[in-house]
């Protein structure tokens, strides 16, 4: 039975719609101008290209989700990855769809504005405050600039705001509804996404966890709720806020590694096993090698230390100088070095000390953990040797040489014990690529090691190899992996040389698990250090608060049109002011409450505290850690913290209006003042628009007029 009439009632918050439209307009219009590489696009762009070509890379600056989002935009626009991102300001060819490259970050940046509006409402402040916050964000030049290019901050801010918004929705929803767990799931997912975009998302995530655990703690203290219900709720929160983000984080890597299946420029940083799992590159060489190293095997040994550079154990027909420059003596035996390029001199033969032959017997006798071997250099037939002579560059360690008998009562000490450090995971047998082996000198129990220092000219600037007592050596970088491997078949030196020069063949296939790859990649990302030097536009965190600094993003190749990351100075001032005001107010209230004066009713006080936790807390966690960092920092690192302050300002104003000012006159004055401030925010937004959109071009005098601070670098073209 149908009840007529059939009615649909829809409520639309027109203000919200209006704000959204305005925000989309400010962020999205003329997105493909300038049609040139802008600032860090040059950095992210190369990764986008590599995604398009499915070539493996490591970026230590952050997890892969952010790059993948950018790559998604490029993929949708049909970008084929064929563009050399070599300098800022290079023109894009017409084959590159600039609009789609920049669309996703711009969209995220635009959606931040309505999100802030909704977030203010969820913090239980009025629509007017919400509008204020949205306008501050809408008219912030630095956020607009940062959104309009292929950069990640806007995406990060979007996910962080979404996480807080959905958490507050969850928290404010009546506890009876199961629907609210949908919000919690969304919260967990956006936390995972935020961390996946940039590690900086971790700061906000930790804050959110703090707030959530505080709420949970109150829940535990609530004796009206049954034990069972408390347990269930705790478990739900634990799953959504802790397990889900971690799973998602791993998932991003899963997608990342599945996409990037080809070898590329960063292969060298990874272990041989990892490299072999990539198509092309090492796997092409190692395909078809015998798996187990046997007596008589011909191998190249790669150091597992990736610092300073990946290299192979190497020797050549040159001896250590009798005396070094500083007067110390050497053994004058053949040099053993580490060489970062493929070379025929990298081949070594594994020999059984008890037998003469250097071919693999049939069946091959594999080398196991604990076996004692000799290593013979393929081209010169010298034995790998070490003795109690100080190494050339690291005198605290032993020299390693290819043994030459000079009849000076210096006996050969060329026995090495094979110590497979990952034998629990792999096996007792020495395997190509998979096994990580430490070579321990039998006579002195020192371990073969890359010292990381380059030799001077007499050593052809190759890297020094030493043997160091095990307990002295840094345990991290002692391993060696067999990379190229074949079973030697010739006993005669001449034949062997020919054999060594010939390429290897035969087929085997190797795989390592996703977890091993994930852990290795994660570890490398956290430990690979780039040389951090100061950048022309880098700045220190304390300069951000007062915006002493700016970043020139782009300058037109012939005119004065330029784009700068400069914030809206008026909004910036408002933000700082409200930060200060909140702290003063909070101290004032706290002291008064402690003395028993309840200035605010309970509900209002809770609201005030919640505001502080989210906004001031958010500012703190996104700002203070930078003070301790030794990285190169830029103004855009401050933007997430700034967004929290914009959230704070109107809410604080509303609080003052309703609870602090008693007389109507003051309240009116405050309103007038607020609208005046808003007007000046708009005006200063208009003033800086040319530097935000790079359009229209300004004359040098106008530019000079925009240089509100002496420390800003604004570029003038000399005519």
């Amino acid at each position: 039975m149908l009840h007529l009439p059939l009615m649909v009632t829809a409520q639309v918050d027109l203000v919200l719609v209006l704000v959204t439209v305005l925000s989309l307009w400010t962020r999205l219009c003329h997105l493909s101008y300038p049609n040139a590489v802008v600032f860090d696009e040059v950095y992210y762009g190369q990764f986008v290209s590599l995604y398009m070509k499915r070539v493996f890379f490591i970026d230590d600056s952050g997890p892969p989700l952010g790059h993948m989002i950018l790559a998604l935009g490029a993929y949708l626009g049909g970008f084929d990855g064929n563009f050399a991102w070599n300098r800022i300001g290079a023109e894009y060819p017409c084959s590159v769809s600039v609009w789609t490259l920049r669309f996703l970050p711009a969209l995220c940046g635009a959606l931040c504005v309505p999100l802030v509006y909704l977030l203010t409402l969820e913090l239980k402040f009025s629509h007017l405050s919400a509008l204020g916050a949205a306008l501050l964000l809408l008219l912030e030049n630095s956020l607009i600039v940062q959104s309009r290019f292929m950069l990640l901050e806007s995406v990060l801010i979007f996910f962080v705001l979404l996480a807080f918004f959905s958490y507050l929705c969850f928290y404010n929803a009546p506890s009876s509804s199961w629907f609210r767990y949908g919000w919690l799931l969304l919260c967990g997912a956006s936390c995972g996404a935020a961390i996946g975009v940039k590690y900086m998302g971790l700061f906000s995530y930790l804050l959110l966890l703090g707030v959530a655990s505080l709420h949970t703690w109150n829940l535990i203290g609530d004796r009206t709720v049954s034990h069972l219900s408390v347990c269930v709720q705790c478990v739900c929160r634990f799953f959504c806020l802790l397990v889900l983000p971690v799973l998602l984080y791993v998932f991003w890597f899963y997608v990342h590694l599945s996409i990037l299946s080809h070898s590329g420029p960063h292969d060298q940083l990874m272990s041989s096993a990892f490299q072999a799992s990539l198509r092309g590159g090492l796997s092409r060489i190692t395909q078809g090698q015998p798996l187990e190293v046997a007596y008589g095997s011909q191998v190249t040994l790669k150091s597992s230390a990736s610092q300073p550079i990946p290299c192979w154990l190497h020797s050549h027909k040159a001896n250590y100088p009798i005396r070094y420059e500083n007067g110390r003596g050497s053994s004058h035996q053949q040099q053993v070095t580490c060489y970062p390029f493929k070379d025929v001199n990298n081949w070594w033969i594994v020999k059984d000390p008890d037998r003469q032959e250097m071919m693999v017997s049939s069946p091959p006798r594999p080398v196991r953990h604990g076996d004692v071997i000799q290593l013979v250099h393929g081209m010169t037939s010298r034995f790998l040797n070490s003795h109690d002579v100080a190494a050339p560059m690291s005198p605290h360690a032993q020299e390693v040489s290819g043994y030459i008998n000079f009849n000076v009562s210096m006996a050969a000490q060329n026995l090495w014990r094979v110590d497979i450090s990952n034998r629990e995971v792999e096996s007792d047998v020495w395997k190509t690529i998979l096994s990580e082996v430490r070579l321990i000198h039998v006579n002195t129990s020192a371990v073969l090691k890359l010292s990381g220092v380059s030799l001077p000219d007499w050593g052809f600037r190759q890297l020094e190899i030493v043997a160091e007592k095990l307990f002295k050596a840094n345990t991290g970088n002692l391993g060696w992996t067999v990379e190229e491997h074949r079973y030697g078949t010739s006993q005669e030196q001449k034949e062997r040389e020919v054999e060594l020069h010939s390429p290897s063949h035969i087929d085997v296939d190797r795989k390592i698990s996703f977890w091993a790859k994930f852990l290795e990649l994660q570890w490398k990302m956290l430990t690979v250090k780039q040389e951090d030097s100061e950048h022309k536009y880098s700045s220190s965190p304390l300069e951000w608060i007062t915006m002493e600094t700016n970043i020139a993003y782009w300058l037109h190749s012939s005119s004065n049109a330029q784009i700068h990351l400069i914030g809206n100075p008026v909004s910036w001032g408002v933000a700082n002011f409200s930060l200060l005001a909140y702290q003063v107010l909070a101290v004032f209230y706290l002291l008064r409450r402690r003395r028993g004066f309840k200035d605010l009713p309970h509900g209002v006080w809770c609201k005030f505290v919640c505001l502080g936790c989210v906004c001031v807390g958010g500012w703190l966690v996104n700002f203070v850690p930078f003070l301790l960092m030794e990285k190169t920092l830029f103004l855009y690192h401050y933007l997430p913290a700034l967004c929290y302050l914009y959230l704070l300002s109107p809410a604080l104003l509303e609080h003052m209006h309703t609870h602090l000012l008693s007389s109507v006159t003051y309240q009116r004055a405050l309103c007038v003042w607020a609208s005046a401030v808003l007007l000046s925010v708009f005006l200063s937004y208009r003033t800086f628009c040319p530097l935000t959109y790079g359009n229209p071009e300004l004359s040098a005098n106008e530019l000079r007029g925009l240089k509100w601070r002496d420390s800003w670098d604004i570029l003038y073209r000399r005519r």
Binding site: I220, R223, V453, F471, K472, L591
Partner: protein, 751 residues
Amino acid sequence: MEDYKKQWNTPGDTSTLRKRKNLSENTPLSKDPGRWTQDDPGSSNGTLAECHGSDSNNPPATLLLLLVVASLSFSTRFHRLSEPSHVCWDETHFGKMGSYYINRSFFFDVHPPLGKMLIGLAGYLTGYDGTFPFVKPGDKYEDHNYVGMRGFCAVLGSFLPIFAYLIVLELSQSSTAALITAAVLIFDTGCITISQYILLDPILMFFILAAVLCMVKFNHLTQRSFSASWWFWLVMTGASLTGALGVKFVGLFVILLVGLNTISDLWRLLGDLSLSMVDIAKHLVARVVGLIILPLFLYVTIFAIHFVVLNKSGPGDGFFSSAFQSRLIGNNLHNASMPEYLAYGSTITVKNLRIAGGYLHSHWHLYPEGVGAKQQQVTAYLHKDYNNVWRVHKQDHNESQSGPPDLVRHGDIIRLEHKETTRNLHSHLHEAPLTKKHFQVTGYGMNGTGDLNDLWQLEVCGGKKGDLVKVLRSKVRFLHRATGCVLYSSGKTLPKWGWEQVEVTCSPYLKETPSSQWNIEDHINPKLPNISLSLLKPHFLEILLESHIVMIRGNSGLKPKDNEMNSKPWHWPINYQGLRFSGVNETEYRVYLLGNPVLWWMNLASLGLYLIMSAVASVALQRGFSLEPKRKEHAHVLLRGGGLLLLGWLLHYAPFYTMGRVLYYHHYFPAMLFSSMLTGITLDVLFRSADLLLRPPYSDWLQRAGLMGLLFTVLYSFYLFHPLSYGMTGPLAHEPGSSMAGLKWMDSWEF
């Protein structure tokens, strides 16, 4: 339901197995709450339930225990104190600095002076004459009297277990907990070793624990505010804080601990509505005086004594400004004289005005490839050096050869020629090596012939055109003519190619800061009369500030070297690797600083246990389970006392993760003290909760058995590892004949 609730009430109850037992056995327990208090006096450890709140329970027994602790502590520290009779490890630094005090020659160290002053004093009093050179570890003392200094450190080191005992007793009101702590510290080989040598650490730790002890005593006197003993402990806290900070900057962490404690105390007082605002103000003022003003005064006094005592020129002169050096007898600046106004043709040195800024310096080395133009380096250098000398020229080359030289005036355009290499001070539009916003400064030209980029306009700060430039007193700036930038010292240290000297740039930002201001220091011009300048003697506070900046820079300059194995903070709690104090080879007398691994791992385990127990306890409290008074007491001890100690541990450990300087194993020892105290409290509460598992008579047995087992473990492990502290000779541990054979449980241990 009642039973169900009961088994939730158990702080420290972690395994489900135990819970199951509880259900069956625990029921009779709750019927007789009086039993424990009855049993307690019988068992040697229990004093808790009735006695909390009273200062001392059963004084003779406590005193006896204290005496036992003290005698054990002193005897373990003084055993074989004079062995080995050669310089061990950092004795080479601190012993040497003690000697400097005795000889009154000025030196520089990255730590504040109190520790070394005390060592010097101890040496002086025990008849050491300051003549031993302390050149390198391993040097034989022969007939020099070094035992006094070692003895002094050992005495302070011996107080550590005693203080820890008292602190734990105060926090937990349980002598068992206190005894566990004391036993751990007395028999820890690491604590013994580090107390036996001429080092700053025993002194530092003495003051740290003294401060904590005084603070805890003070906390306990809340009922008797403003009484004599209240004031006494307050003042003693402040004094100990000074001591800690005066020895090493690590003392800041204990200051932070006391500060946080004081803030929470004040917060509590503020919430006490029975106190008037006047009372609260009094409390506040008392703490400001006792914990801020007094320590500050004492700290400044220490430095005053330091500067008064060290009045002769010594190895530390070069780190300080010339004005400072002029104070030191024997320094070449002592009572110096020079021409008063800067003139053309003079040779000068130019010093940057930022605090502890260097001299403008250049040398034959060029900037390396890729760093701006490949011209000669110009840096700022902190030491006196002939390469700091520059010659002032007019912009054109014709200088009047005869007659009195022209004086340099404000606004003049000059050229600075480096005397040694005859290159001109030069700048151009290349990025500076480190501060990329600035321009590079180089040495350019030959024999004073360069180009237009060598011209600098000299300005006296606050001067007007025509003003003369006073040597030493005028602040001057050098403006580069061609680019309009100003000569600037960024304070950043150049990498190896720049010999780790300080970067000099030309800054386009013209704001006046000390970094861009310079003064003329040495001034030699034979054509002008020398005037004896009673140099502006620096104000004491300036010296204080300067020495602090120099110390901080020295500290952050201790970067790990490439080849050196450096210790990471995560190594420390797991006792990953120790420090070799003395001896390497089989024939030598070897001492190895390594904590007793059994005890250290026990500390680590207790830390985890503490977290679990306190989590259970606080959830139980928050959830409002009805707990027996005894359990409430336990929870209270865990959360309050344990919380304080945990905070102490965190404050003394976590900051090392953010430090860029080189770290050593012994940095963990202050944190280890807190960790040991926490162990005492945790294990004590754990043993006392034995009755959750068994019924009363058996639970007491279990408790006692646990304690005996613990004591046995401590003693046996000490027996095993005591050669680490008291010295080993003979073969190394990996060989079968060694006294430590089979005890090398971790590959990373080097004995």
